[in-house]
Symmetry: C2
Subunit: 445 residues, 2 copies
């Protein structure tokens, strides 16, 4: 299988392309327009053109090595066979109605599997919303507005394309984006174990975000994660019994989550339990230096949210070391009489010296990771200059938790993130990111 075909197709056929807005074959055409290469809408019942591309009758008439199949499930085997005969090497099959339906659907899926095998076609799906590579303006998907997903350094591979999409939009909402996004669906022959190495090889991907309901190839999946030099974070759904629904969704087998959790108990791999944690962990693993250990130094301008973060972290592998004598002396100089000079350090209010306090804690030899909480004040802003110096001189993760009206702090948030300092809008999101960093360096070697 050559998943890389999806990254660099040489000509794309859109089979079942349509002029009618709202139809899947039209939505797919809408999205593929930005692709920098030949696009061929294939539909024997249509004449003229769609978005300036001339309709053709058959995939035999075109020079394409990727097909986006926008046809209903009963037609898919025939279409895929034609693709194979025409030399198309990769296909995205959007339609549902295969293994997830059982009965006739399962038979259809077996049929397309054997056609794919016969002609050596890499198939994404069936039963997927497709994939997207924003930095190439390449959107092999029918999802409206998918072109609004931002470009970034987090790669997503999800069993459910719905989760891939909602996570991509969520990353975009946070000012981030994706390097590539794949919805696997029923995985006829493109599995986690195919996409994860491709993302690991992709120089634009600095963290791999995985959503899994269940796969027959657990060993291959875990091996791919283990062998990845790029850190991997996974949301394994199914803490409780959701077997019927998951089977009916992407034909996912019922499995004990422990298999995945045990497999992820090693450096570089992290498991989470919500989509928010999934994207936040992706962000922090992509942008932060690898911490040396679990020792967290907390600096807050308002203790209340800092206590919430501390409380959360105490339930994880985090440690709260004493600060060195040197740091405490420096803090005493910077902030005479501040409310709390132990770790956590609390200044009680944002103040001009806040950046220096972060600096003191970040340079403390006992501290591996810094977590900051500060409500935004216009007259002070965020200590971007101090953080810039720290980011250059100190190779430790700093997570910055913000609060205030979005529009007020947006610019400085983005400035911090450009320095590799991820930001979070609630205390527990900041704390969860720190916990993920710690998990990423713990576990069996």
């Amino acid at each position: 299988m050559r998943v890389t075909d999806f990254f660099d197709p040489d000509g794309i056929a859109v089979i079942g392309a349509s002029k009618t807005p709202g139809k899947l074959g039209n939505d797919a055409m809408t999205n593929i327009r930005t692709y920098d290469g030949d696009v061929f809408p294939v539909n024997p019942s249509s004449e003229g053109s769609v978005y300036g591309y001339e309709f053709v009758d058959s995939v035999h008439d075109v020079d394409a090595d990727l097909a986006l199949c926008c046809v209903p499930s009963p037609v898919v085997p025939e279409v895929l066979e034609e693709c194979g005969q025409a030399g198309v090497g990769a296909a995205v099959i959007f339609a549902g109605g295969f293994a997830e339906m059982g009965g006739e659907g399962a038979a259809f899926q077996d049929e397309i599997a054997s056609i794919a095998d016969e002609y050596d076609i890499t198939v994404l799906g069936p039963n997927t919303a497709g994939y997207a590579i924003p930095h190439k303006d390449l959107y092999g998907s029918f999802v409206p507005r998918i072109r609004e997903v931002g470009t970034g350094n987090v790669g997503i591979v999800a069993q459910s394309a719905g989760v891939a999409i909602t996570s991509s939009f969520h990353l975009t909402r946070e000012g981030y984006g994706v390097s590539a996004m794949f919805g696997l669906g029923n995985r006829v022959n493109t599995e986690f174990a195919d996409v994860i190495p491709a993302l690991d090889d992709d120089p634009r991907t600095d963290a791999i975000v995985v959503h899994v309901e269940g796969t027959e190839d657990v060993d291959d999946f875990l091996a791919a994660c283990r062998e990845s030099d790029t850190p991997v974070v996974a949301l394994k759904v199914g803490e409780h019994d959701i077997a019927d629904f998951a089977q009916a969704h992407t034909a996912a087998p019922a499995q004990d989550n422990a298999v995945y959790e045990d497999g992820f108990d090693r450096p570089g791999l992290v498991t989470v339990s919500s989509t928010t944690e999934l994207i936040d962990t992706g962000r922090v693993l992509a942008d932060s230096p690898t911490p040396d250990g679990p020792n967290v130094g907390i600096v807050t301008a308002q203790a209340g949210p800092g206590i919430i973060a501390t409380d959360y972290l105490k339930g994880t592998g985090a440690e709260f070391p004493d600060l060195t004598e040197e740091t405490r002396e420096r803090l005493d100089e910077i902030l005479p009489g501040i409310t709390y000079t132990e770790n956590p350090v609390d200044t009680g209010r944002p103040m001009p010296e806040f950046g220096e306090a972060i600096d003191a804690v970040a340079r403390d030899d006992n501290v591996d990771i810094v977590l900051v909480y500060e409500i935004y004040e216009d007259s002070l802003g965020y200590p971007v200059d101090e953080l810039e110096a720290l980011a250059e001189e100190v190779d430790k993760p700093i997570c910055f938790t913000v609060a205030g009206p979005d529009h007020a702090l947006e610019d400085e948030r983005r400035a911090m993130e450009a320095l590799g300092i991820p930001t979070f809008d609630t205390p527990e999101r900041g704390a969860q990111a720190v916990a993920a960093l710690i998990e990423s360096v713990s576990g069996d070697e």
Copy 2:
């Protein structure tokens, strides 16, 4: 104590008011300008005016019944005594440096407690960022931009003003707002048990959101919650040992969380474990009808996120009833051959019939609460018309989980919320809101 003095002050003295931007006494003046009544900046060292208000030398020279004390802790006792002599009935004390510091600070706090007692002054704080009542444009706080907090129907009372503020901004970011927001700080004589009944009596407050680190008056606190006709949701911090930090913050005593959790195990009261859940639960309790029971009907346009929500809910008190024969027949008519007609109902993709599917499930007698997940598509929008009919005709909570670019779905999100249908931007937030609704009707009577 008359907490109501904070709601309707007749003249406000700002003691320690300043012309210098960035000073606390200037920030407080900035915020109080929108108050529709007399404002008196009090500062014997200042001349002229600030924001058009003439400085006066002493609180004796003014006719005010609320004082915002912007002076450092050592001066507070003297200032409070003057307030008492001048007949000021209520005061907000911003400064820290009292009981949370121990030693001399604790002595200062004892002193102001006895002055407050002698002159019968209702004191908010010390060690607080104050309070806000947006619908009255009344901001007794030094927090910059607090005037951007939206007006809404959620009342907040937080031990940490920092948590009150970050939660208020978060609610605003979600398109909601607060009816009133109080940061208690060190609670010299204004306690949870004073503010909660005031919010319960406030016709603009439909849910009360509480943040508590620990209070000596647990019994009064729990009694106030129990006696409230308005639903109450609490975030009790301190699942782990954070006693030192909390003591140093708001002089909170170390306490076993079980006391609070047991006390909240009754209808109308809900506990949560994050600030996001806190505000989401506030929203859903404020806007939704009370459900008849724990039976959840789920309708999804993309199964993956729906499975995540289902998985989460299976770990709570939620039940997933079979749909009635009538509903299933109706679903078969509306959506022939849809992917999954059991509960959860999954349509596989947004479609024009999606609103009808929600309608069928919401009208099912076996269903008490409806949870919906749908990625936004421009050509379909969200089924606002069908939801409007449902909101009028069916007295059941509907929680709607959205996905897509914010700006695309913003209008329809707000339209649904205007119907009393709260919306959420991740599957687990929607699921948590449903779990909170179920918790609000369970527990001991």
